[in-house]
Subunit: 149 residues, 2 copies
DNA sequence: TACTAAATTGACTGTATTAGTCGAGTATAC
DNA sequence: GTATACTCGACTAATACAGTCAATTTAGTA
């Protein structure tokens, strides 16, 4: 039950794009250096976000990435799911049927996991990227610059 | 952000002890076979629960494990934390100071993680073992027997 | 058209965690 | 004293995490 760097990088990258709409498309390198993310690793993250339809890529010289929709309509949950699959996965609920147990709806532990999963999803889904950008701008000032955060 | 087998085994073991107070102490072997948990692995789990003060062990022949307190006063969160440490750990908040970032209270992503962490903790902390036992008895009948669950 | 900047892909590596297993040792009831 | 049962530490295989590397494709620009 830990949050991963990949998820954090994804959120920071999407926030960065949201905050720099004026200079779209934004290049991987710029996002990487501004947010303190290893460039090659960020490429993986952005590729996953592209496959999930959250960002769009523009290839070739002076290409880069931009958001496909408004920061108001992208939730933190969207980004996390794009990078890690379902939030708080429950082992016996996925995979092939061999290791699924056959009385899932009766399993007390699974019911607990489901309630926890739902609680965390609610938090992530009702927080939009715009919410996070607002909070960030408030704290950092207009520049949005923040060291290693 | 996944739940682990160890956590599930721990919850099931504690539930089993709660449901069999009449035959305390209960032996590892019995818990393992009744709950479908690898015996040796369960020993590790029970040892961790003992160190956390959730169960007490009685050594020697006809020894075993019993709960140290009422199932009403043990929460699922207690069990999970005993087995996995803090719930939903946030990488940059623990470990040695070298990889801690120095403006934690300003980090938007960490704030999001904290809210998610708090949501999940609430669910796990307000669910008691007795709650889970009740649900289980309701579904399975008095015997409490349940295959592979 | 050639050059170059940038995304894209897939394979590769090291480390940590998960999910166990094994075996030797210790305590205690009988 | 011996069988039973907990205790402890090391060990292993598989998976996930966090990157890195090299080769390729695409597209803007001189």
């Amino acid at each position: 039950m830990n949050f991963t760097s990949k998820e954090e990088y994804g959120l920071r990258a999407v926030m960065h794009l949201a905050m720099h709409e004026a200079s779209w498309p934004v290049q991987t390198r710029e996002v990487a250096s501004a947010e303190g993310i290893p460039e090659q690793f960020l490429e993986q993250v952005l590729a996953a976000l592209r496959r999930a339809g959250i960002v769009r890529s523009i290839r070739g010289a002076s290409g880069g990435y931009e958001l496909t929709s408004s920061p108001h309509s992208i939730s933190a949950g969207d980004v996390v799911r794009a990078l890690s699959g379902p939030i708080a996965r429950i082992p016996c609920l996925d995979g092939d049927s061999t290791d699924k147990c056959n009385k899932l709806d009766r399993c007390v532990v699974v019911n607990l996991w489901k309630r926890a999963q739902s609680a965390i999803s609610q938090v992530l889904d009702k927080t939009t990227i715009q919410d996070m950008v607002d909070e960030r701008m408030l704290r950092d000032g207009e520049s949005g610059f923040m060291m290693h955060i």
